[in-house]
């Protein structure tokens, strides 16, 4: 018995004689097992622990307190033993008596203190009913000394309460949403139906156009080679057939496709989302009238399914990739510019143009290109987000007029809540996230007013980049002057449209220095008039005009060139080449290099 007691005492001494923040778990276990089966040992342990608590060192007290807590939570006898001297234990661990402050290492002392308070709370909640002393001690520290307890239970209760309140509020908001939904249901359905109908019509149009082309090919292909092909090949073939089945965009149905794209975008980004939202609201909301809710839910799900099928149809028809189409357009633009610059080779002068046209028509069916169509694409490019009606950009002139006037707004998520005045949950991300910065109020609501304020868009005025044409006057060392001045080049005089060789275009065939003066006057006058007009006109129109003039210049050049070639050919056949060559040289002496180039390119022209 005695040596047993010595054993527990030694164990406890060993366990408390450490600087660690925890009792060695193995020692603790040993103490527990030693104490478990023998009351006398438990008594000795209690006595030893109380003695240790009186040590003048906070670390020892701290470790002792940890052991006490372990035993306290487990043994009833230990509890009764400890509880008798609870006031002493508390004064030694909490140090609430002014004349007995906690001993030395202040850091450990504060840990000891907080731990003791925590333990007391724990003990009180689990054993307070059985030990008046614990209740008393707790009550005293809490009410008389007003120590701050961690208050775990109350905290939990408060959190629970808050959660409940939050749920209540969420429910309220849901109910409100539900009411709004009920009111807007018919409107929404109407809208969706319209869109879907329009999409259907568009698809119909496209299909009808394509059917007659494709059907015949498809049918007879199907049966013939079935047996011969291995599976992969067959799959490939089927895929390709399917691909072929897809309605491809061409110049004729481009309008339809554009409309389709708009509708698709509307469908995906607005209707589908609003329907999803409605469904989620309906699922979460709790209302008395469940039948109404269920029927609404069913309706919504039907609508959603319908929408998804329509969406699928759209995707299948290949119209539903707004990104790519946009990209296409950019490419076109680039191509266009390229063509403009690249017209240095006189032989291949018509090539880029042609290529452009082919690509624009997308090369599948040899359709005739038509000019008004180009205009319309231009327009639709500008009014992209306006959602033109299916196939009828020019039919409703009033509308298009209004659309021209209407401001163009960048696409953004704020358009979803365009014109609505609903409160929006601020922290409703669907994720239960705790912020580092403190508690997050999940019911924070941003009032509609604020939303409107937040959605207020500042549009920057962007100056349209005016492309200043280069001077393009021929230089003595060859090449063209690349200076870009608005009116007058300091070296080459006023800027006038010139051809690729640097010859002014507006003059007649033989460009001479003599009529340059008159030419200049004329040019200036023209320029002035043009400037006045330009100021009035739109940028696009101006550009178009430029293009037209350039085209004209090109045409003129071509004509000239062709004449020259014919002349050359004629001269060559008559062997008066040198004379004429001299003549040419005299007429335009300073464009030697360019002419050489021209000469070089002659053979290919001739061959052609």
């Amino acid at each position: 018995m005695e040596e047993d007691g010595g054993k527990v005492r030694a164990l406890i001494d060993k366990a408390t004689n450490s600087t660690a923040a925890h009792v060695d778990p193995r020692l603790l276990k040993a103490i527990k097992t030693a104490v478990r089966y023998s009351d006398s040992e438990l008594r000795i342990a209690a006595q030893t622990l109380m003695d240790l608590m009186k040590r003048d060192h906070s670390q020892v007290r701290y470790l002792t307190l940890l052991i006490i807590d372990e035993l306290f939570m487990r043994s009833k006898l230990f509890r009764t033993l400890v509880v008798e001297n609870l006031d002493q234990l508390l004064s030694l661990s909490v140090g609430f008596r002014r004349n007995h402050p906690l001993p030395a290492p202040p850091a450990v002392a504060s840990v000891l203190r907080s731990k003791a308070i925590e333990f007391l709370e724990k003990w009180n909640s689990s054993f307070g009913n059985h030990y008046r002393q614990i209740r008393l001690g707790f009550d005293y520290l809490k009410n008389a000394l007003r120590l701050q307890f961690p208050n775990a239970q109350a905290n939990a209760a408060r959190v629970q309460q808050e959660r409940r309140e939050r749920e209540m509020r969420t429910k309220e908001i849901l109910v409100k949403k539900f009411e709004a939904l009920k009111e807007n249901l018919s409107l929404l359905k109407e809208e969706i139906r319209e869109t879907v109908d329009e999409i259907g019509e568009c698809l119909e149009i496209v299909k009808n156009k394509e059917e007659n082309v494709l059907l015949g090919v498809l049918d007879d292909d199907d049966e013939d080679f079935e047996e011969f092909r291995p599976l992969e090949l067959r799959q490939l073939r089927l895929d390709s057939l399917k691909e072929g089945e897809k309605v491809c965009e061409n110049s004729e149905n481009k309008v339809v496709f554009d409309a389709l794209r708009e509708l698709y975008k509307l469908l995906v980004s607005k209707h589908l989302i609003s329907v999803q939202e409605g469904i989620s609201v309906l699922i979460r909301v709790e209302v008395a009238d469940t039948r109404l809710r269920d029927s609404m839910l069913k309706e919504f799900i039907d609508i959603r399914n319908h929408l998804q099928s329509v969406k699928k149809k759209c995707v299948d028809s290949g119209c539903a990739l707004p990104d790519i189409t946009k990209h296409d357009k950019e490419e076109e633009e680039d191509f266009w510019e390229e063509g403009k610059v690249e017209s240095t080779e006189p032989g291949s002068f018509s090539e880029p143009n042609k290529r452009y046209e082919i690509s624009a028509v997308s090369s599948t069916s040899g359709e005739v290109k038509n000019d008004p169509f180009k205009c319309s694409t231009e327009k639709s490019k500008r009014g992209e987000s306006l959602g033109s009606e299916g196939g009828g950009t020019d039919s409703s002139s009033l509308r298009s007029k209004l659309m021209d006037k209407a401001p163009v707004i960048e696409w953004g998520s704020f358009l979803d809540s365009w014109g609505s005045n609903r409160d929006v949950l601020a922290n409703n991300r669907g994720l239960e996230l705790e912020s580092h910065w403190g508690r997050v109020d999940p019911d924070a609501v941003i009032p509609a007013k604020k939303i409107a304020e937040l959605n207020l868009h500042a549009t920057l005025y962007k100056e349209d980049q005016v492309e200043i044409p280069p001077c393009r006057a021929p230089l003595r060392k060859g090449g063209l002057c690349q200076r870009r001045d608005l009116r007058v080049c300091p070296f080459h005089g006023p800027i006038i449209p010139r051809n690729d060789e640097g010859n002014p275009i507006n003059q007649s065939n033989s460009t001479s220095d003599i009529n340059l003066g008159t030419d200049l006057v004329e040019q200036l006058a023209k320029q002035a008039v043009k400037n006045v007009r330009d100021r009035d006109n739109e940028e696009a129109r101006k550009r178009k005009m430029d293009k037209q003039s350039q085209k004209r210049a090109k045409l003129a050049k071509i004509r000239e060139h062709n004449e020259a070639v014919l002349r050359d050919a004629a001269v060559a056949s008559t062997s008066g080449s040198s004379v004429i060559g001299d003549d040419v040289e005299a007429s335009s002496r300073d464009k030697l290099l360019a002419r050489n180039k021209k000469k070089l390119s002659h053979p290919c022209c001739g061959r052609k």
């Binding site: 276990k29 527990k32 097992t33 478990r36 939570m73 487990r74 043994s75 009833k76 006898l77 509890r79 008798e84 001297n85 006031d87 002493q88 508390l90 609430f96 689990s126 054993f127 009913n129 059985h130 030990y131 008046r132 002393q133 209740r135 008393l136 001690g137 009550d139 005293y140 009410n143 008389a144």
Partner: protein, 452 residues
């Protein structure tokens, strides 16, 4: 236990001795009660506790926050506990009188006592110089007495049949007796040289008042006559105590004879009839326990009391607590010198019982309590309450439960329960351990819980 009951049924033991035995057994098993909580509404230290003397049911407490409350200690207001056990009875105050009351005291209440005849009245004394008499049922003040200084202690005689006097010890040197019947001061007793911390009526005679002052003197007054008739002197001592009843004196014979042999006192036994006659009519020749040295002047008590006698002290420092035993033959006093003394009232001698008090509160009056058979005295010793054996002075139990100084205790001999109040604002109940602990503990029972 059962055997004792059987013996009583068989007539082997008298009911009275059976009762005494059970009583003492219960008293010896007092511990902090876990099933009886008094929910203290006080926001200050509890200075005074008393259970009413008629029913033994209502506990009156007075506290430093100028509030006095009454609790029903027999019937709990509500129960608290886990499950169906609900074992903790909460006794909330039936009513409180505090500063909000229109006639409430302004400062700390130091003393709150019941009217001894019934529970219809109670008396509070306060630092605001007032003693107020309250009607319990209407909780209204019915009378007040303006005192010359802070009131330390009030007392009413539990055995009085002919007077309704409140004895008040105050800052003032004079002890005043306030007459409820007339609403005026009936007596002004002068003799103390300092404030009077404690007053106590004799339990054997309704005319005898004992007061203890800050000057360390304990004075006996016969209110029918002017002046005090005795001042206890700590140097006048006798060994042992006289046998309370001659028949039971066998065990104390040795001590008594020893005392006699010392010749310190005149024989005690002849005194007994004398005392009876003294308390009977209180005529001039009734000096109780006259000291032999004062033989020549034994008839002259007042105003010609010898100045040396008049200056005698019972304690070094203030007398903070007084308690007469139930039989009125002994007086217990506590002083700021951390001493307890047991006085023989008859002889006026210090019995030289050494009480093992460690320290006593010095600045405040303390309220002592004794058991009915005067075997134990409960003394607030700083943060604990100690139960001493009256005759030997040995510590019987130490009650540790308060977290600050204990000011007062009251023993209810009816329930064998001890009530203590302290600076930590709590009123604790100490009750006998339950003999039969077969009560079902709730689901969260208090059991060993070894996880490994």
């Amino acid at each position: 236990m059962w055997r004792e009951i059987r013996d009583r049924e068989a007539g082997k033991t008298s009911p009275n001795s059976f009762k005494n035995r059970v009583n003492s057994f219960r008293i010896s098993n007092l511990q902090l009660s876990n099933h009886k909580d008094i929910v203290s509404p006080h926001r200050g230290s509890v200075n005074s506790l008393q259970v009413d003397l008629t029913e033994g049911r209502y506990l009156l407490s007075g506290a430093s926050d100028a509030s006095a409350s009454v609790f029903d200690i027999q019937r709990a207001t509500d129960f608290e506990g886990v499950g169906e056990g609900a074992s903790i009875a909460k006794h909330r105050s039936l009513f409180s009188i505090d500063k909000q009351h229109q006639n409430g005291h302004k400062f700390a209440i130091t003393s709150a006592i019941w009217y001894p005849i019934d529970t219809g009245l109670f008396v509070t004394g306060s630092y605001d110089h007032y003693i107020k008499v309250w009607d319990t049922n209407s909780t209204q003040m019915v009378m007040n007495f303006k005192m010359p200084g802070k009131v330390y202690r009030t007392a009413m005689s539990p055995v009085a049949t002919t007077h309704m006097l409140i004895a008040a010890g105050t800052e003032d040197v004079q002890v005043r007796l306030c007459d409820i019947a007339s609403g005026a001061f009936a007596h002004t007793l002068s003799g103390h040289r300092d404030g009077v911390m404690t007053v106590e009526w004799s339990t054997s005679s309704e005319w005898i008042l004992v007061t203890g002052g800050c000057d360390g003197a304990i004075r006996f007054w016969d209110i029918r006559r002017a002046g005090c008739f005795r001042v206890l002197d700590q140097s006048q001592s006798q060994l042992g105590r006289r046998p309370p009843v001659p028949a039971r004196s066998a065990m104390n014979k040795v001590i008594t004879s020893k005392a006699l042999s010392k010749g310190q006192n005149i024989s005690v036994k002849p005194r007994v009839p004398q005392k009876k006659s003294a308390s009977g009519n209180g005529v001039k020749h009734s000096p109780l326990g006259q000291i032999p040295a004062k033989g020549p002047i034994k008839q002259r008590l007042h105003p010609g009391m010898l100045s040396s006698q008049d200056r005698a002290t019972a304690h070094y420092g203030a007398v903070t607590g007084l308690k007469t035993t139930e039989d009125g033959m002994h007086l217990l006093s506590a002083g700021s010198d951390s001493r307890m003394r047991l006085w023989d009232v008859e002889s006026g001698c210090n019995t030289l019982v050494n009480f093992e008090t460690a320290r006593l509160q010095t600045s405040k009056p303390i309220q002592l309590a004794t058991t009915q058979d005067s075997t134990l005295v409960f003394v607030p010793c700083m943060t604990s309450v100690k139960a001493f054996d009256v005759w030997s002075g040995k510590t019987h139990v130490t009650f540790r439960g308060h977290y600050e100084y204990v000011n007062c205790c009251w023993f209810s001999s009816q329930d064998q329960e001890l009530y203590t109040g302290g600076n930590d604002r709590q009123i604790l109940v100490w009750s006998p351990a339950r003999l039969i602990s077969d009560e079902d503990e709730g689901p969260a029972e208090d059991q060993d819980n070894w996880s490994d």
